[in-house]
């Protein structure tokens, strides 16, 4: 399949390109930019006039819910949703049932995903067996099976000695560990940020200390072991400050935040909408503002959707009984664009946070539009306005706190490996 993307505004952070250009795709690769190669006859010409052409998005956390949680979502539905969100590569956490702690499970998932249209699926391996936080998984075997990094996802790791050993072992083979900093004991029983709003609403709190105390431990262990650590879903101002300081001291850590936490905060919980029950909890306004600023100054390396589709019944209960998480892979782009507009950040810098930078963290090809690279491309309309609704979302999970809210920016085409996997109706 040969595709000619005509007259679009090509925004490519790696190559610092932002301008109108034509892109030519053949045999799964970008074969030229600007002028067509000799004898190029497109099967498909995409008129991208007035549209933005950028690297396909790389999402560091998309739950596909297989195996085990097919009642919440299926591989088919979620890969389609990801493609509709302009995502061409995604990391999927191991908190499936059973968890991705054996090579066979990883291979099966990769095999299933490969035969479906949609993004490249990069499983994250379980750091410990059954995610129980006790025994290490066969990380080398899992890496061979295709795992890009190891994580507990949101499962607790209470034993600091296990964490130390995991880091030492991972450092031996230069495996990457993705850790969401949250002290299990300090967070115990909590469902909302321990602050004025949770106090008013009588929701048991998760203090910001749960994040900073865990971060202190992780950063110390990372320094001592030299393990490659990526910090997932930071949520607090103080946590961000610790990571910023650690980076300044030369520690090679990276970190991400979820798009919900860029736009929402504890104040939104008044009314007890279970769609706002998220992990980590929505923090105070000052934390949200710190996240927005840290994305601008580069202290936070990537934005992800933390896509967590749940069954509608799991949200149709009182706040504290609801399953945490939000469906978000289709909102990754518009929410990133909204942040950029709110903050006056150039488009190219915003795109960087959801393409090139996360591709580097995940250690995969993609995330840029260099000639000769994989043709993973997103074409979107920066100004298109739409409203979030159950019908507008392809994901089986309709659980989003942004339901009924207006969005600006919508994906028109998603090209993955040279195939047009999504085309807006």
């Amino acid at each position: 399949m040969k595709i000619h993307i005509r007259n679009g505004r090509v925004v490519d952070p790696l190559n610092q390109h932002d301008g109108i250009a034509d892109i030519y795709v053949a045999a799964g690769k970008i074969v030229a930019m600007g002028t067509a190669p000799a004898d190029f006859h497109a099967n498909r010409v995409i008129d991208a006039s007035g549209l933005v052409v950028c690297p396909g998005l790389v999402d560091l956390s998309v739950r596909l819910r297989e195996p085990g949680f097919e009642y919440r979502a299926t591989l088919e539905s979620e890969m389609l949703a990801a493609a509709a969100g302009g995502v061409t590569s995604l990391a999927c956490p191991p908190d499936t049932d059973p968890p991705l702690d054996e090579p066979g499970l990883v291979e099966m998932l990769k095999f299933r995903a490969k035969n479906l249209p949609g993004p490249r699926v990069y499983p994250l391996g379980a750091l410990t067996q059954k995610l129980e936080g006790k025994l290490l998984t066969e990380m080398a075997e899992l890496t061979e099976a295709g795992c890009r990094a190891f994580t507990q996802a949101d499962a607790p790791l209470t034993d600091t000695q296990v964490l130390l050993r995991a880091m030492e072992y991972a450092a031996t083979f230069d495996f990457s560990l993705w850790l969401r900093p949250q002290d299990v004991s300090l967070a115990r029983g909590g469902i909302a940020h321990d602050g004025a709003i949770a106090s008013r609403l009588g929701l048991p709190g998760i203090p910001a200390l749960a994040e900073t105390v865990a971060l202190a431990t992780i950063l110390q262990l990372a320094r001592a072991t030299g393990a490659r650590v990526h910090l997932s879903r930071l949520s607090t101002r103080d946590g961000i400050a610790m990571v910023r300081a650690a980076k300044a001291q030369g520690l090679a850590v990276t970190c991400d935040v979820a798009t919900s936490h860029v736009h929402l905060c504890e104040n939104d919980l008044v009314g007890f909408d279970a769609h706002l029950h998220l992990t980590p909890p929505l923090r105070a306004l000052r934390d949200r503002d710190a996240i927005r600023e840290a994305l601008r100054d580069g202290s936070i390396d990537a934005l992800c959707s933390d896509h967590t589709p749940v069954d509608e019944d799991e949200k149709q209960v009182p706040f504290g009984e609801s399953s945490p998480g939000a469906s978000g892979v289709e909102l990754l782009l518009p929410l990133t664009l909204k942040w950029a507009r709110d903050m006056g950040v150039p488009l190219i810098q915003a795109i960087d946070l959801v393409s090139w930078k996360p591709a580097q963290i995940l250690g995969v090809p993609g995330g840029h539009l260099s000639v000769g690279s994989y043709a993973d491309i997103c074409v979107f309309d920066e100004t298109a306005e739409w409203q979030v609704s159950a019908r507008a979302l392809m994901s089986q999970g309709k659980n989003t706190p942004f339901l009924d809210q207006p969005m600006q920016g919508r994906v028109r085409y998603t090209i993955i490996d040279g195939h047009l996997d999504f085309e807006a109706p």
Binding site: A198, R200, G202, L203, G205, V317, G320
Partner: protein, 316 residues
């Protein structure tokens, strides 16, 4: 925006006192005043809610609260159905919404809801048909608005007004829905100084943002108070990481005659019940001349009648 009010500002549900205008709180108290003598008449009921069905939906058992709502509803001539869901359909795994829909199909007019989760009453109110009103009879740690109102009624009866009072709420504010409702009502009604007194382990984060002054010491906190509200300390919290023992709690935060003497001489002592004598309150105080704990119970019925009467009318 406020899910408790209709478009024209009338009470639609009673879920929390947080954010209710002062005029509505005052109207409830005034209406309750008119219901006060119904219990003393030859016929102890008025025909106001004749033909209305009120369902007591108790997902968390509480004979005491359920009974006061039941008496209040019956004095309004409503038909009352008690459902102790904690021991019936919930254990069979029936979702709350299914229970609610089933009862709505039986032509319920009002749900009195108690649930262990904060926000449960909001959740049910969001999901009921437009003609059904929801009264929160206690949700998790969040709110217990009728208790808060009956406490305000008690204070107004004994002190006449709110604008010149110093009120202290003492004890386990962290886990107390009663304390939250009291604090919102007191600040809305214009009490210039609301204090909370307790150890740091029992006060919620950022509690001062609810408009209260924080004390960790009874001697300082009680000085000059007109009203002292003691909170119940749950048994399971008397020993553990929050407190070392009931004895030590009583020593520092229990209300004794000596500590009460620091408040104004005419200060009243309140407690939402049931009391732990010798833990949060000394018997001598509980049964003493400054205690208004029993009148609180009596007023509770009139206040609940007022709330139900205001909710049930004008929507059919």
């Amino acid at each position: 925006m406020n899910p408790q009010l209709t478009a024209d500002g009338r009470l639609r549900h009673l879920l929390t006192l947080d954010g209710l205008p002062r005029a509505i709180l005052t109207q409830i108290l005034d209406t309750a005043e008119s219901f006060m003598d119904v219990g003393e008449r030859e016929v102890k009921k008025v025909p106001l809610l004749r033909g209305k069905s009120i369902f007591n939906l108790f997902f968390e058992p509480s004979t005491r609260t359920r009974t006061t709502f039941e008496i209040a509803a019956k004095r309004l001539s409503a038909d009352v159905v008690n459902l102790n869901i904690a021991t019936s359909s919930q254990t069979k795994g029936e979702a709350i919404l299914d229970t609610v829909d089933n009862l709505a199909a039986m032509h319920a007019d009002m749900f009195i809801v108690r649930h262990s989760q904060s926000g449960a009453a909001h959740f049910i109110a969001r999901n009921v048909a437009p003609h059904i009103s929801v009264v929160n009879a206690g949700d998790g740690r969040h709110a217990h608005p009728t208790q808060g109102l009956l406490d305000m009624f008690t204070i107004r009866r004994y002190k006449g007004a709110f604008h010149n009072l110093t009120v202290a709420v003492v004890g386990d504010v962290l886990h107390s829905r009663v304390a939250r409702s009291q604090i919102h009502a007191l600040t809305t009604l214009g009490v210039p100084e609301v204090r909370v007194i307790g150890p740091k382990t029992l006060l919620p984060a950022g509690v001062e943002q609810m408009g209260v002054k924080v004390f960790h010491n009874m001697e300082q906190g009680l000085a000059g108070c007109d009203v002292v509200i003691m909170l119940r300390l749950q048994n399971e919290r008397m020993r553990g990481a929050l407190l070392p023992s009931a004895q030590e709690y009583f020593k520092f935060f229990g209300l004794t005659p000596e500590k009460l003497a620091l408040a104004k001489p005419d200060a009243i002592v309140m407690h939402p019940g049931p009391m732990n004598r010798g833990v949060e309150i000394d018997s001598e105080v509980a049964d003493g001349p400054q205690s208004v704990i029993l009148p609180q119970v009596t007023y509770g019925i009139a206040v609940r009648m007022a709330v139900m009467a205001m909710l049930a009318g004008g929507n059919s």
